[in-house]
């Protein structure tokens, strides 16, 4: 029992510190209000244009084979809300390669907190609300258009999808940053699975080639947080071809995927300590 109480205490401490650090980031950004407003607005416009493209596709060609616009909107919404949440929390990992180059990462090592936690709490950006707001709006619109009964189970599943998706995108940011422990070269190539993954997840998986589907189901399990659970939401198990319980449980892969990436992060940190560069 002592162990559990201690764990709860340290969890609460971490949450409190995360809150304080996030609030500090927001206060820092608030010093540059104009930049904040412009960035949020430009993000909103950019992401609206993105969904506009999907809408235009439907207006012109009627439909993707077998897919209604509201269903695509749900896929799109889950992916973008998850991505926006991950981006807000994982911004520190985004700037991490620069911190290694300048030596600022050493400062994090001098504080009595795990480095991954400090990076997650570093420079939390609420400017990204643009993508979040737009993704959420389209998600709600899509959900209402599905014409299904929204019971507690389905709402929970939807929340799990968003959380699981945020975990996966965050894990990808962590993975990308981890590479900087080994090389200071630019790692834009990983954007293929982060930004590219978000783009991919906005469309139904069936429109892609089999190898591509397999990659985003097994290697980077993005399909598990929107395409597969959509089968459960719509009560159409034929969509995923999996046993029904799996459709419901699929979003849970997000957390272990993130945990695995954090373990790789630990390896990177150990490597850094022995090379110092």
């Amino acid at each position: 029992m002592r162990g559990v109480a201690g764990m709860i205490r340290s969890m609460r401490r971490y949450l409190r510190i995360y809150g304080r650090l996030a609030a500090a980031s927001v206060r820092s950004q608030w010093q540059y209000r104009a930049s904040f407003a412009l960035y949020s607005a430009s993000q909103l416009v950019a992401t609206l244009a993105e969904f506009g493209a999907i809408w235009a596709l439907y207006a012109r060609f009627g439909s993707l084979p077998g897919w209604r616009l509201s269903e695509v909107a749900v896929l799109y919404g889950i992916s973008n809300v998850a991505f926006a949440l991950a981006e807000a929390g994982a911004r520190g990992f985004d700037v991490f390669p620069g911190m290694v180059r300048t030596g600022d990462f050493d400062r994090l090592l001098l504080r009595p907190l795990p480095t991954a936690f400090q990076l997650a709490a570093h420079d939390v950006q609420i400017m990204r609300v643009g993508r979040l707001a737009q993704g959420a709006a389209i998600l709600v619109w899509g959900c209402m258009g599905l014409g299904i009964g929204w019971d507690a189970a389905r709402l929970t599943l939807l929340a799990l999808c968003v959380v699981g998706g945020a975990c996966i995108f965050a894990a990808l940011f962590v993975l990308q940053a981890t590479l900087a422990f080994w090389t200071i070269e630019s790692l834009e190539v990983v954007n293929i699975v982060t930004y590219g993954g978000n783009q991919m997840a906005q469309y139904p998986l069936t429109i892609y080639r089999p190898w591509f589907r397999l990659f985003f189901t097994v290697a980077v399990p993005l399909a598990a947080i929107n395409y597969v659970p959509l089968a459960a939401l719509l009560s159409r198990p034929d969509l995923s071809g999996l046993p029904a319980p799996l459709n419901w449980l699929a979003p849970c892969v997000g957390a272990p995927f993130l945990a695995a990436c954090l373990l790789i992060w630990k390896l990177g940190e150990r490597h850094y300590a022995s090379t110092g560069s």
């Binding site: 500090a24 010093q31 090592l109 001098l110 009595p112 300590a273 022995s274």
Partner: protein
């Protein structure tokens, strides 16, 4: 008992060799070549509680590597280190709770926030009880004269003030050991004096152990009774500042102001090292020629208006030692 014990610490790095030319980067990508740099070749020392120890050495000599290992942000290849009974790199989080670190070149404060907000965040991070924090805060504010700047954003502070805030920030969790990496770099004379005073007083009153690296010999003369000289990965000297003087030849400088334009300034037993108009700097070895003897010779040789005898500036001593280092 010693607070810091270091035995035979070794560390080497593999540095990539870069090819020149327009296709150099491509060539390196296909065929990586590295060379091994031995940053530390086995250094050993101990530091007791309450000491202020200065660590000097040429750039790239290994002193930052040594500090990084002791501070817990790097593993050595071999050797041992114990700081407050812990191995720093094995138990990083427990270790850093009890040390404070200030880098002269970068701040650990939040750039856009008022100083007091940074302090409050550090209280959370180090989990300092509120009562204890408030007491320490009152102490550092009074001691480092920070009352007026607490509400200013860090980016608006002068470098001197910012360094004092950084020092205060590193002391809020009441560390037993303070590491300072070039704390006075870039500061004006007044700020340097203020910072040194703060460090000296705090250490004297609370028995704080301080290990600092610097290139400013005045830091060493003002603060440290003990010097570690690291050059080329080895500990060349562990002793008092006078031992450092004795390491190079014990030469002194005789500065003479001549009365009028004298062309020939040769003097037996001394070497003319510099001349500006009527002012001469002559170096000599007091073992070879006694100071009063040399002054008598000079007085006989040219019309003198004034003269002073000085130890060689410590900078020159250090430069000499660095040059002579293997």
């Amino acid at each position: 008992m010693a607070q810091i014990e270091v035995r035979g610490l070794r560390k080497s790095f593999r540095a990539p060799l870069r090819s020149a030319g327009p296709f150099g980067a491509l060539k390196d990508l296909l065929h990586r070549r590295t060379r091994t740099v031995e940053a530390l070749k086995g250094i050993t020392f101990e530091i007791d509680a309450g000491q202020i120890v200065g660590c000097i050495g040429p750039n790239g000599a290994g002193k930052s590597t040594a500090i990084k290992i002791i501070a817990g942000i790097m593993n050595p290849d071999g050797g041992e280190a114990t700081v407050l009974g812990r191995t720093p790199w094995a138990d990083r989080i427990a270790h850093v709770r009890h040390i404070g670190v200030v880098f002269g070149q970068r701040t650990q404060l939040w750039w856009d926030l008022p100083v007091i907000d940074s302090f409050a965040l550090l209280r959370e991070i180090y989990d300092v009880p509120r009562r204890e924090y408030e007491q320490t805060l009152a102490d550092v504010v009074e001691r480092f004269k920070l009352a007026e700047v607490l509400d200013s954003p860090v980016r608006q502070l002068s470098l001197g003030l910012r360094m004092r805030c950084d020092l205060a920030a590193a002391l809020l969790h009441r560390p037993s050991i303070l590491f300072l990496d070039e704390p006075t770099i870039g500061l004006d004379a007044v700020s340097k004096l203020a910072l040194r005073e703060a460090i000296r007083d705090w250490s004297a009153e609370r028995g704080l152990t301080v290990l600092l690296t610097t290139h400013d010999m005045d830091d060493i003369e003002d603060l440290c009774r003990r010097v570690l000289l690291i050059a080329d990965g080895s500990l060349l000297l562990d002793g008092a500042i006078d031992d450092l003087r004795r390491m190079s030849s014990a030469r002194r400088t005789l500065m003479i102001d001549l009365a009028a334009g004298v062309a020939n300034v040769e003097l037996e037993g001394a070497e003319l090292v510099r001349r500006e108009g009527d002012r001469l700097w002559l170096e000599y070895d007091p073992e070879q020629v006694a100071t009063h003897e040399l002054i008598a010779r000079a007085a006989a040789a040219f019309p003198i208006r004034d003269l002073t005898v000085a130890d060689r500036p410590i900078e020159e001593v250090v430069a000499q030692v660095y040059r002579d280092a293997p």
